[in-house]
């Protein structure tokens, strides 16, 4: 999922300052899991905005706002309402904001679309409702087959591919003493699997062209282009 945190209310109010009639669009996918933009959070923020003098034109929470197939059926019937709004506030990731903007343009509308959240990136839920952790950097060239299912690109602070730096102490990373050294985790895991020989293999420099922005995924062909 895409991790999100709430922007401070002052920041949201500042972004909405020029507008009175506001539509609030949440996301019942990732933002719901992060407790930042599900139905409850949308309603909560809508009431707060009302208390600050805004008129809420509508509240909507598509199942996954970043997915046109999910958000279009919710937003299209609201075209008249969107027309009425001075601005839309999206409680979703940056992708959700941009898909919402894309759809409003598809409906022939030019409306300011603002974001109420900060996107943190691809995170994975470790403790539901409490902790999500970044485990994958979406690098386009997965090395997990060789690293015991633990990603050094993401979980090593330096994204080292050929083993640890010399900075770990007591198994912890030099950058954050509360975080495990990814390479020690990989080593222990491969040892348990009887696969430490994999550590001897030289890993070539990564092909970062696979991370060149923006990437486009052509789903039917399974092809990524940038």
């Amino acid at each position: 999922m895409i991790g999100t945190t709430k922007k401070p209310l002052e920041e949201v109010l500042a972004a909405l300052a020029p507008y009175r009639k506001v539509a609030v669009v949440g996301c019942d996918g990732c933002a719901k899991i992060c407790q930042t933009g599900g139905v409850d959070e949308v309603a909560q923020l809508a009431r707060t905005l009302e208390a600050h003098g805004k008129e809420i034109v509508f509240e909507a929470t598509p199942e996954r706002t970043c997915n046109v197939a999910k958000s279009d059926p919710i937003l299209k019937p609201l075209t008249d309402k969107i027309q009425e709004a001075d601005a839309l506030l999206v409680l979703g990731c940056g992708g959700a904001v941009q898909i919402t903007r894309y759809l409003t343009e598809q409906y022939g509308l030019t409306k300011p679309v603002k974001v109420g959240l900060n996107s943190v990136g691809h995170l994975d839920t470790v403790v539901p409702g409490a902790v999500a952790m970044e485990e994958c950097s979406d690098c386009g060239e997965c090395v997990l087959n060789d690293t015991g299912g633990i990603c050094p690109v993401t979980r090593c602070a330096k994204s080292l591919l050929n083993g640890p730096c010399g900075g770990a102490e007591g198994g912890k990373c030099e950058v954050d003493h509360n975080r495990d050294c990814a390479w020690i985790l990989i080593y222990e895991r491969l040892k348990a699997l009887g696969e430490t020989d994999k550590l001897k293999r030289f890993m070539e420099p990564k092909d970062f062209s696979k991370m060149a922005k923006p990437r486009t995924l052509y789903i039917k062909e399974g092809r990524v282009a940038s």
Partner: protein, 296 residues
């Protein structure tokens, strides 16, 4: 002079270390900058001097410019280059620049993380790692860049690397050391280590690689510094006995005590290695007496 040539001749190699200043070093006829003076002060006692590259991720004068100044002053530099601040184009370009400007020795490092330095909000690079950098540098020595394009003239650099004997689990560090050798490392300087037993365990396992290893001796100046290292410098542990010894003398006697401890460590470790790398953190005047004693 390449360090590899000295090792090949069987010379027991001594190296020092200086950190470039945080500022411009244009002297306009004045006295040489402090780090050059420090390098000059040990000129007769060491074969070469490491010039650190934004050490501890603290922004300073560039290591290449500083290395060239050291070289111009008549001291052999070992240009440290890290992967932290440069992508693969910049790394290759910098290595070719170094060779072009007369540098013979480079130490290829990953580099401390930006989070530990004075520009914590910077974007870390780490485009390649130290093992990959060694392979790239070896390729440049063989006349091609990392994608196979020919160079008009190859570089001619002796390639050094580092290893941390105090790392747990040691086998993981040795695996990486072996990879570094396979990809081009010709000599090693070790991270600071103060326990002869730990060091001996490491040396016994590393001997099989048949590559020159220099014992890294970081001079501990005070109990406060020892405490700072133990709390903030990753990968190094200053043992209690060393702290107690430093505590046993008054502050004005600390330098003499540090010399005594360093000399003892140097004597103890020397038979196990092909050289000693001093990291004196400004106390370079401790190096001559130690080297004199070891040279007999």
């Amino acid at each position: 002079m390449k360090l590899t040539e000295l090792f090949a001749k069987g010379t027991f190699v001594f190296t020092g270390e200086v950190g470039p200043v945080k500022g411009c070093s244009r002297v306009n006829g004045g006295p040489p900058p402090e780090f050059v003076q420090e390098a000059l002060s040990i000129k007769d006692y060491v074969h070469a001097v490491n010039v650190t590259d934004n050490q501890s991720a603290v922004m300073r004068l560039g290591a290449l410019a500083a290395s060239v100044l050291v070289k111009q002053a008549g001291v052999e530099p070992i240009f440290q280059i890290t992967c932290r601040d440069r992508n693969r184009l910049a790394l290759q370009s910098e290595l070719m620049s170094a060779c072009t400007l007369g540098i013979d020795n480079v130490l290829c490092l990953t580099g401390d993380h930006i989070r530990l330095g004075d520009h914590v909000s910077a974007k870390p690079v780490f485009d390649v790692d130290s093992v990959q950098l060694l392979k790239i540098a070896k390729g440049l020595n063989e006349g091609r860049d990392m994608v196979g394009n020919p160079l008009t003239q190859p570089t001619d650099l002796a390639l050094g690397a580092v290893v941390n004997p105090g790392f747990e689990p040691l086998d993981l560090q040795l695996l990486k050391m072996e990879k570094k050798i396979e990809q081009g490392a010709q000599f090693f300087q070790t991270q600071a280590v103060y326990d002869p037993i730990i060091f001996e365990t490491f040396i016994k396992k590393a001997e099989q690689f048949k590559v020159p290893i220099m014992y890294g001796l970081l001079v501990v100046k005070s109990p406060k510094m020892a405490q700072f290292i133990n709390e903030n410098v990753s990968g190094i542990t200053v043992p209690k006995w060393l702290i107690r010894e430093l505590e046993s003398v008054a502050p004005q006697g600390r330098k003499e005590k540090a010399l005594e401890i360093s000399l003892r460590l140097a004597k103890e470790m020397a038979p196990m290695v092909q050289g000693i790398h001093f990291m004196p953190l400004g106390w370079s005047d401790l190096i001559p007496p130690i080297v004199k004693e070891l040279r007999g």
